[in-house]
C-alpha cells in the first residue's frame, strides 16, 4: 500500500471514524444507564432491608446515601429471631434438594432408556414426553390435590417434591436423552464387553459422562423449585411452609410488614443468586436447551 493511498483512506474515513467513535460513546453511555436502571430495584430492596422500619415508612432507600447512619441489621435480627422464618428456609431446602436429586435420577434413567435401550414404540413414547414439555402446572392443580388427599400426602413436603419431580421430568428426559445419545457407541459396547451389567453401565459410564447436562438440569431444577410459590401454596403444609409461601402470607399487610418482607425477600434470593453466579454457564446452557416452563 503506497503512502498516498494511506493518506487518502485516512482522509476519507475521518468523518466515519468520528461518527463511529461518537456512536461507541453513546452506546457505552446508554448501556451504563440501562445497567444502573436494571440494578436499581435490587439495590433498593437490599438497602430497604438494611433500614429501620420507621425510616422505610418515612423516606426512600436512596436516603441512606445522605444518611449512612440509618444502616442497621435490625430487620435481619428480627427475621432470624422468628422461628417461622428459619423453619421455612429449612423447608425450602428440604423440598428443593430431593426434588432436584429425584428429577436427575429418574430423568437420567429414562433418558438413557430413550437413547440406548430397545423397546417397542420408543420414538412414540419419546414424542409423548416431549409433548408434555409445555403442559402448564395449572392443569394439574385440582386433580393432583384430589389425588394427594386420597393418598394422605396433601399439604406435605413429600407431595410438593413429587409434584416438582413430575413436572421437571419432561425437560429432564428431553435434555438428558439428547445428551446421552451423543455418547460414542464404542464406549458403551466396550464396557458391555468388559462384563458390565445394564445398571453398572448406567452408573459407571453414562452418569459420569453426562456430567455437563446433569449440571445444567440440576441448576435449572434447583432454581425452579427454590423459587416456586404456586405449587407450594397449594401442596405444602401451610403450618410449615417454604420461604416463598411464608413471605406471601405477609404481603397482604405490606406496609406493616415491609421490614420483614424486604429482609426476607433478600434472604430468599441469596441462595439462588449464589447458585446463579457460581454456575452461570450451566444455567445459561440449561436455559438455551429448552427453558419452556
Amino acid at each position: 500500500m503506497s503512502l498516498q493511498d494511506t493518506v487518502v483512506r485516512g482522509e476519507r474515513s475521518l468523518p466515519a471514524r468520528l461518527a463511529a467513535r461518537l456512536g461507541a460513546g453513546a452506546t457505552r453511555g446508554f448501556l451504563v444507564v440501562v445497567g444502573l436502571f436494571w440494578l436499581m430495584p435490587t439495590v433498593g430492596l437490599l438497602l430497604s432491608s438494611l433500614r429501620d422500619k420507621s425510616d422505610i415508612a418515612a423516606s426512600g432507600w436512596w436516603q441512606v446515601f445522605a444518611h449512612p447512619s440509618q444502616l442497621t441489621t435490625e430487620s435481619y435480627r428480627t427475621l432470624f429471631a422468628n422461628d417461622k422464618v428459619t423453619h421455612s428456609l429449612l423447608t425450602t431446602a428440604l423440598i428443593t434438594v430431593p426434588a432436584t436429586v429425584l428429577v436427575i435420577l429418574v430423568g437420567a434413567l429414562a433418558g438413557y432408556a430413550f437413547a440406548w435401550l430397545d423397546f417397542p414404540g420408543r420414538d412414540w413414547w419419546f414424542m409423548v414426553v416431549v409433548g408434555l414439555l409445555v403442559v402448564p402446572v395449572q392443569v394439574a392443580l385440582i386433580p393432583v390435590a384430589k389425588l394427594f388427599s386420597a393418598l394422605g400426602i396433601f399439604e406435605s413436603t413429600v407431595g410438593v417434591v413429587l409434584f416438582h419431580t413430575a413436572f421437571g421430568l419432561p425437560f429432564a428426559v428431553f435434555l438428558l436423552r439428547n445428551f446421552f445419545a451423543e455418547i460414542p457407541r464404542e464406549l458403551l459396547e466396550a464396557a458391555r464387553l468388559d462384563g458390565a451389567g445394564e445398571l453398572r453401565l448406567f452408573t459407571r459410564v453414562v452418569l459420569p459422562l453426562g456430567g455437563p447436562a446433569i449440571a445444567s438440569l440440576g441448576i435449572f431444577q434447583f432454581l425452579w423449585v427454590w423459587n416456586d410459590m404456586l405449587v407450594a401454596l397449594i401442596f405444602a403444609d401451610s403450618g410449615n411452609p417454604p420461604i416463598t409461601v411464608a413471605l406471601q402470607q405477609q404481603v397482604r399487610q405490606f406496609g406493616d410488614n415491609v421490614d420483614i418482607l424486604a429482609s426476607g425477600a433478600f434472604l430468599s434470593m441469596v441462595v439462588p443468586l449464589a447458585v446463579f453466579f457460581a454456575f452461570q454457564r450451566q444455567f445459561v446452557s440449561g436455559v438455551m436447551a429448552g427453558a419452556v416452563k
Partner: protein
C-alpha cells in the same frame, strides 16, 4: 439482500426444542437389551408423568364438564362462563394484553442489548446484570416492585423519578396549602384562588397575609417588610402572617414574620386580569397604574398541592406496571438467547453490507434481524407460553384494591380452584383452556423432532 439469502441462516439455539442426532442404529436394539430392562429404567418416569401430568389432563377435561359440587353434569356451561363472567373476562382481556405486550417488548429490548453489548468490552458484565433477575423468584421480584411502585414519591423510586421529571418541566407551586385567615380582606374566590374584597388603590400599600404555609417552604426566606407607597402604582406585601412561638397581630407585619417570595399576584377588573406580577424575595410586589381600582387575586397555581406522581398500582395502570416488572425479569432471557444467535451470524455478511455502503441501521435492519428471525421467533413463542401462565407476579404486586383489575387467567384459576370464589368446574375449564392455548407449540415441537429424526 442477495448475499444474505445465498447463505443458510445460522442454526437457532432452540429454546423450545434442540434436536440431537438419534443414536446410530435407531429403532433396532441399540445395545441389544431385552425390553423388560428398558421397562425398569422407564418405570419411575412414566409412573410419575402418568399419575401427576397425564392423568390430571384427563381429569381436568372431565371435571370441567361438571358443576361446583362435582356431581351435576353441566356440559359446556363452565366454558361459557369463562367467556361471560365479568371477572374472568377481565382476566382474558388482561391475558391478551400480557401476551401481546410482554414478549414483544422483552424480545425487542433483548435484541437491542444483545447487539449493543457485542461492541463493548464489559458487555459480559452488563449481560450478567440484566440476566440476574431470572435467577430470583417471582415472589422476591414482586416484593422488589411493590417497593419500586410505592405511591408516595418520598418512598417509591418510580414516582420519585417521575415527580422529579414532572417538576423539572412544570414548576411546582411555591406554597402548597397556604390560605388567608378567614377573617381578613382576602377571601376564597373559587377554584382555589384568593382575592381581596376591596379594590386596591394606587399609592396605598396592600397587605396580603397568608397562613398555613409549610415551614419547609419558608426555610431561608427573608423577613417580610411593608411595601412602600408609590404614587401611581399598586404596591403590597405577601407574607406569612404567623410569628413562630406566638404573638404578633393578625394582618400586620410583625418582627420576624417571613416574606413569601415568588407568589403570583393578579389585578382583576370586571373579571378580566389587567396586570400580573410575582413577589420579590422580601414579599413585596408592584403593579402598574392600570391596577388602580382592581381587586387583587392570588391564583390557585400558588397553592396547588404538590404533584404526587402516578398511581402505578391503581386500577388503570396496574397491569402495565406488573408487565414492567416481568420485562425486568425476562429481557435478560431474550438477550442471552439472541446473543447466542448473533454469535452464529457470519461476520463476513455484515462486513460485506458495510462495504456496500450500508449504514449501521441498515445493516441491523436488513441483515442482522432477518438472519436472527428464527431465534427471535423461538424467544417470542417461549415468552408467550411463559406469560400465559403468569401468576406469582400479579398475585404479589397487585394490592387487594386493584387485584380484580389486574386479574389474569392463572390467577383466576387459582381463585376458582382454591381461593375466594371456589368453583372447581370453572377452574378446570380455565385449565383446559390454557392447555388448548399451548397445544400448537406441542405440535410444532413434535413435528420438528420428527423431521430431525428423519434427516
Amino acid at each position: 439482500m442477495t448475499t444474505a439469502t445465498a447463505v443458510p441462516p445460522p442454526p437457532p439455539p432452540d429454546s423450545v426444542v434442540r434436536p440431537a442426532p438419534a443414536p446410530r442404529g435407531k429403532g433396532r436394539g441399540a445395545l441389544g437389551t431385552r425390553p423388560w430392562v428398558a421397562a425398569c429404567f422407564l418405570l419411575p418416569a412414566l409412573a410419575l408423568l402418568g399419575a401427576l401430568v397425564v392423568y390430571p389432563i384427563g381429569f381436568s377435561v372431565y371435571r370441567s364438564l361438571f358443576d361446583a359440587s362435582g356431581h351435576g353434569f353441566v356440559g359446556m356451561d363452565n366454558y361459557q362462563e369463562v367467556f361471560t363472567d365479568a371477572r374472568i373476562r377481565t382476566a382474558l382481556k388482561n391475558n391478551v394484553i400480557w401476551v401481546v405486550v410482554a414478549p414483544s417488548v422483552a424480545t425487542a429490548l433483548g435484541l437491542i442489548f444483545a447487539v449493543l453489548t457485542e461492541r463493548v468490552r464489559w458487555g459480559t458484565a452488563f449481560k450478567l446484570v440484566v440476566f440476574m433477575p431470572m435467577a430470583i423468584s417471582m415472589l422476591a421480584a414482586g416484593i422488589i416492585f411493590r417497593l419500586v411502585y410505592e405511591q408516595n414519591p418520598d418512598r417509591g423510586v418510580a414516582n420519585a423519578v417521575w415527580v422529579g421529571i414532572h417538576d423539572t418541566f412544570a414548576a411546582p407551586a411555591p406554597f402548597p396549602g397556604a390560605h388567608p385567615r378567614p377573617t381578613g380582606d382576602l377571601v376564597a374566590s373559587g377554584d382555589g384562588a384568593f382575592a381581596t374584597k376591596s379594590a386596591a388603590r394606587a399609592g396605598s400599600a396592600v397587605a396580603l397575609p397568608l397562613v398555613a404555609v409549610k415551614p419547609e417552604d419558608v426555610s431561608g426566606a427573608r423577613d417580610a417588610i411593608p411595601a412602600r407607597d408609590v404614587a401611581g402604582k399598586v404596591t403590597g406585601t405577601v407574607w406569612m402572617d404567623f410569628s413562630r412561638g406566638g404573638g404578633g397581630t393578625a394582618g400586620k407585619i410583625d418582627e420576624g414574620e417571613k416574606a413569601l417570595a415568588g407568589v403570583t399576584v393578579e389585578a382583576v377588573k370586571d373579571g378580566r386580569t389587567v396586570a400580573s406580577t410575582t413577589t420579590d424575595p422580601d414579599g413585596t410586589f408592584t403593579l402598574p397604574t392600570v391596577a388602580d381600582g382592581a381587586r387583587l387575586r392570588l391564583p390557585a397555581a400558588n397553592f396547588a398541592s404538590a404533584y404526587n406522581g402516578v398511581d402505578w398500582l391503581g386500577p388503570s395502570l396496574v397491569t402495565p406496571s406488573i408487565i414492567g416488572a416481568y420485562i425486568w425479569m425476562w429481557a435478560g432471557f431474550a438477550m442471552v438467547l439472541i446473543a447466542a444467535g448473533l454469535a452464529g451470524v457470519p461476520r463476513e455478511l455484515l462486513e460485506a453490507a458495510r462495504v456496500d455502503g450500508a449504514n449501521e441501521w441498515q445493516v441491523f435492519r436488513r441483515v442482522t434481524v432477518p438472519l436472527l428471525a428464527p431465534v427471535l421467533a423461538v424467544v417470542v413463542v417461549t415468552l408467550m407460553i411463559n406469560v400465559l401462565k403468569i401468576f406469582d407476579l400479579v398475585y404479589i404486586i397487585a394490592p387487594g384494591s386493584s387485584l380484580d383489575n389486574a386479574n389474569v387467567l392463572a390467577l383466576q384459576l387459582y381463585q376458582s380452584s382454591f381461593g375466594t370464589d371456589v368453583n372447581q368446574g370453572v377452574g378446570s375449564a380455565i385449565a383446559v383452556f390454557l392447555l388448548l392455548l399451548v397445544t400448537p407449540v406441542v405440535i410444532v415441537n413434535i413435528r420438528r423432532i420428527r423431521r430431525d429424526r428423519q434427516r
